[in-house]
Symmetry: C2
Subunit: 415 residues, 2 copies
Amino acid sequence: MPTPERFGRPDAESLDRQDDLAPLRDAFILPEGIVYLDGNSLGPLPRRAVERLRTVAENEWGRGLIRSWNDHGWIDLPRRVAAALAPLLGASADEVAVADSTSVNLFKLLAGATRLRSGRRAILSERDNFPTDLYVAEGLAGTLGGIELRLVERDEIPDALDETVAVLTLTHVDFRTGALHDMETLTAAAHEARALVLWDLAHSAGAVPLALDAWGVDLAVGCGYKYLNGGPGAPAFAFVGRHLHQTFETPLQGWMGHAAPFAFESRYRPASGVDRLLCGTPPILSLAALECGIETVARAGIDSLRRKSVALTELFIRLVEEECGGHELHLASPAAAARRGSQVSYHHPEAFAIVQALIARGVIGDFREPDILRFGFAPAYLRFVDAWDAVTALRAVLESREWERPEFRLRAKVT
Amino acid sequence: MPTPERFGRPDAESLDRQDDLAPLRDAFILPEGIVYLDGNSLGPLPRRAVERLRTVAENEWGRGLIRSWNDHGWIDLPRRVAAALAPLLGASADEVAVADSTSVNLFKLLAGATRLRSGRRAILSERDNFPTDLYVAEGLAGTLGGIELRLVERDEIPDALDETVAVLTLTHVDFRTGALHDMETLTAAAHEARALVLWDLAHSAGAVPLALDAWGVDLAVGCGYKYLNGGPGAPAFAFVGRHLHQTFETPLQGWMGHAAPFAFESRYRPASGVDRLLCGTPPILSLAALECGIETVARAGIDSLRRKSVALTELFIRLVEEECGGHELHLASPAAAARRGSQVSYHHPEAFAIVQALIARGVIGDFREPDILRFGFAPAYLRFVDAWDAVTALRAVLESREWERPEFRLRAKVT
């Protein structure tokens, strides 16, 4: 990276010219004039998904009708998408199921985990875990009875791993700060206490290298519509390590997870391995879009993606420091790249209004309660000039205090 | 209906000319040369869904990106689809949630029902209920402990409603025979025993008039991709009667069912009423297609649809009797239209191969174990000539014994 007195847009352009991943941007359809730093909330439209959706609707559904379950392979689509995803997780295809939402998958896996450790009463998590994950755990505990959700602070986790813990469930990348848990170490610590681990990979899959098999991870879930670019509400995924395949049970027993889905047997017999996590009929249109998203990211390779992600976030942090100093922005993310996911967050008392002002300038990041500005750096399609342009806009918003305008202070439903 | 010596194709054409619903066929894209009698498995492509999917992908996802949750109303889409569906169910919009799969919704509602009747240990159903429904109930019972799935024959249901039954769960239209349960009477009988009822409307919604409110139904689930034409694996729906809104709880607590979905509160507070059944992020592409399917059916009105459905199935049964007598076909469906859904089924020892031979001739029905030929008559797009053409093809297959050909005897994965 060049280190001139002041890093200018030409310097960013020069980094883009040297970027091996630069051509991948063209695999996405991105609107003109927008710097999109919210791909960690909803990834953009892969170019191939446009044609694929048309084909699935008009040829497969329209002309093939019911025959497309065989003729166009709908019945195998969940497994095909899982196979495309597995390398991004450091997992085997037969350990990954693509189905339902992250919440529903979390419920399945937490329920299965408490059953495998039936003498133990606690689901352990951290107080700052993604709220939905806590709702799901709370809902399961209330349903089962005899199970409690135990919440501790981040640094208390290792000590809280005692003989009452059935499963430790954490989100790998903190959704507010982007802080990374050390998955390998915490997994080992949980195993030391004979607890299972369940990782939520919502902000990891497609952005951060993962080695679920090598790290001995038991269970994981994740989201299809963030760094995997599967489209709004894309189906989610679940991972069950092979060492649990003989014993793992799911409470949600549907026909797609039956050993013989078309035999219409009156009793449930689970499909082998992770296929038993398939439950009802999958939403084929959304699943087809997800396949396009995953294939687009997977062909770049996760190590290249991570290298670029780190370069982008490092540049952004440096430029904010240089260009926006003295404006009450405090880095909420870890300063060390190795401890950070693919996002950069800042605290600011006017975070909400600043995010709105940035959006009005075409720089889309997001706000998270109570005072977080969050910028996602999806390496598959972002450029170094995007980081530069975003900081330039941020400086302009801060210097002009345009976040004081009333229209930026109105709370919309989604931010 | 004219009653000539032998009912010919011109007679069917004449019925089509008199059919007020005939123009509705044009609202669907149907392949040339196909008689589609499997809309009870997967409804065809509504014409408006083609454009809608393109718009949702290219404009909303592609150009709007994350902003479309507000700007294009994605956040309200589940509620909008529920409001379009409610009149077809005889329900209010605030009693219907569109989310997840039928299996997952069934799990939510069965779990909620057993909690509302916590002193009672049995989920009562019939042995011939749709197998997946039994798997879901079995999975829930195994998860909760202290709950059993009790199965009886169809005619034993009233007597089995004792003080141990928490909830009676039945499928309204039998998936094999098309036999209709008397929902009003069985609901009253369950209530007499202080049990709740949960109806699976998979083969009813969009085909059979329903009056969930008037009949005092407690709970129901159903499928979006059959008579509602929502596309493969379309999201499903759940109904909770208003009398349970204050007390009903779901085990699957996700962010979309939270009272303040964007506040990221650490504790779950259920949204009011049926909205708490929304769980994870819905698959927007599939949900948008479902909206098109429901709107297309709803504008015909369920009473007109039912009248035509009855006329189609009556004609089909009569023609099979007249044209295909002496071929070992035995009507599996109730002979009385009032006791039948929108399908006609026959037993035949060679049912599987006959269905394959019919498909090769462009008449798509389906086979169900062990010996059922099943023909769905979706009134929104089928014509009287389709019934006539189907019987003509059936007679040709039976008379030529072409079902003996080896290629029709190979069991495919989906039939």
